[in-house]
């Protein structure tokens, strides 16, 4: 068994699998991916609401969010041989108060400044775009190039395709520590003592990346936040757009097979603690609160039956954008974590850029704003 590769990727989520795929596509299939749990895409990669969005994103994320939507998402299903259900029919971010509209306006102007087609629409136009929405919605931001996809098949599609291309995957392989050899991060040690070795180490293990990076003296300023989502039984086809709200009440879309997938919260998430975080238990408050939030914007769904709810942890970066960066003090190490709930939609672009960083090439867009050392003391 070969435990040496050009690149070791820690984390078999959508980012790790996408990076493995783009490395293999560029001819560098000597890649090992280590997944800590028994299933590929066990964490946020399979637990999110499937948004492939640009509107509402930070201007530091927008260049690569836009790059992926323009260049990578359109042909992804054909490339991977798996239906990613990518649907580009636009995103409405809804507002019910003047304060909401003010917030949406600011987000829209920020995004326009970096070239995104997003504009404000009034109540009448909201109804024209989606007739099923509540009457007390007074306006929204509308981004016609936003959309959604299926996070489950996308993540597993990257896995399946890269596996076919020769990438080696190990599951149930939790990482204990990184080790430096002659000043360079080269070794990845598992809990059971197995040692893997590579020229480049990509750390894409969500929040768990923090503990792993700490073993070579690097602290990544992020926290963990739980979030929940739900799915309804199949419904007749209603709309293809993605929905969100200025108040952050909920977000979601109707999937191709007819079910609605929504993400929402109860307000208790920020103080949620759990003896065993890996259990990702749902909270008894959240599902009911989510139903109220959804019905207040999409009343037509009041009779839709919920079949399942689930939870997942977000890796929240201290300033809301990820760390995609080499580390000066730990050469050989490349960080890809802290995605703050935005990781799925941007994963193709991030995967591609990680493969470029490994190859020593310039990334398709400038990501210097996502460096790991952007945190500066405030006094």
């Amino acid at each position: 068994m070969s435990r040496v590769a050009d690149t070791i990727i820690i984390g078999g989520g959508v980012v790790g699998c996408a990076a493995a795929y783009y490395l293999a596509k560029a001819g560098n299939s000597n890649v090992i991916v280590l997944e800590g749990t028994k299933s590929i895409g066990h964490g946020g990669s399979s637990r999110n609401g499937g948004g492939v969005r640009q509107s509402g994103r930070d201007v530091r994320e927008l260049p690569y969010a836009m790059y992926g939507i323009k260049n990578l998402w359109p042909n992804l299903s054909e490339e991977l041989g798996v239906d990613t259900e990518y649907t580009q029919k636009g995103n409405l971010r809804l507002g019910k108060t003047e304060e909401h509209l003010k917030k949406l306006n600011t987000l829209a102007s920020n995004a326009q400044s970096v070239g995104l087609d997003v504009r404000m629409v009034d109540a009448k136009e909201v109804k024209e775009i989606c007739p099923y929405l509540a009457d007390d919605i007074i306006g929204a931001s509308w981004c016609p190039t936003d959309g959604h996809a299926n996070p489950l098949t996308t993540t597993l599609g990257y896995y399946k395709r890269s596996l076919e291309m020769g990438v080696k995957y190990y599951t149930d392989a939790p990482v204990k520590e990184l080790r430096k050899i002659k000043g360079k991060v080269r070794q990845v040690v598992l809990n059971d003592g197995t040692v893997f070795e590579g020229e480049s180490i990509i750390l894409a293990a969500g929040y768990e990346s923090r503990e792993i990076a700490r073993t070579v003296g690097v602290d990544i300023p992020m926290t963990r936040l739980i979030d929940e989502a739900l799915v309804t039984e199949m419904q007749p086809h209603m709309f293809d757009i993605m929905l969100g709200t200025a108040g952050g009440d909920f977000y979601g879309h109707q999937a191709h097979h007819g079910s609605f997938v929504f993400g929402s919260d109860s307000g208790y998430e920020v103080v949620t603690d759990m003896k065993d975080p890996s259990a990702m238990e749902t909270n008894s408050l959240t599902l009911s609160a989510s139903c109220r939030a959804i019905m207040s914007y999409v009343p037509a769904l009041k009779d839709a039956k919920i079949v399942r709810s689930w939870a997942g942890w977000l890796d929240n970066a201290f300033d809301g954008v990820p760390f995609i960066s080499r580390v000066d003090e730990a050469p050989g190490l490349i960080l890809a974590c802290g995605f703050t709930g935005h990781g799925f939609g941007t994963a193709p672009a991030v995967g591609l850029m990680l493969s470029q960083m490994v190859a020593g090439e310039e990334t398709v867009v400038d990501i210097s704003a996502l460096r790991y050392d952007r945190f500066k003391p405030i006094r």
Binding site: L163, R292, K305
Partner: protein, 110 residues
């Protein structure tokens, strides 16, 4: 630790069987052959298979086909069924209308 590429070699390629057409997951119409094939494509856990094929993701949430899928997967992997972990159960235990589920006494927060 499971070496996926090694395990794929060990279990060999997918070979068609006469009963592959059989519907196993009735809610989502997934056949035995699709499940068997998925194992040989590298999907070894019930969690991965249900996400890939939608087996057990429909109205009954796998309460009908869960055991059957487990049996099929364990045979393809050449392991005992007890070594294949079942899917996690999540609320609600029965499908429930949003309007009813919403009535827990709380109010929507702004």
């Amino acid at each position: 630790m499971i070496d996926i590429q090694e395990k794929l070699k060990e279990i060999g390629p997918y070979v068609e069987a006469p009963d592959d057409y059989m519907l196993v997951c009735r809610c989502e119409e997934v056949t035995k052959g699709e499940i068997r094939k998925a194992v040989h494509e590298g999907f070894f856990t019930i969690e991965e298979i249900r996400r890939y094929l939608r087996s057990g993701m429909g109205l009954c949430q796998g309460q009908t086909c869960g055991k059957l899928v487990k049996g099929i997967v364990s045979r393809e992997l050449k392991v005992a069924p007890t070594e294949v972990e079942p899917a996690v159960s999540r609320a609600p235990m029965r499908p429930m209308e949003m309007e009813i589920l919403a009535e827990d006494g709380g109010v929507a927060h702004e």
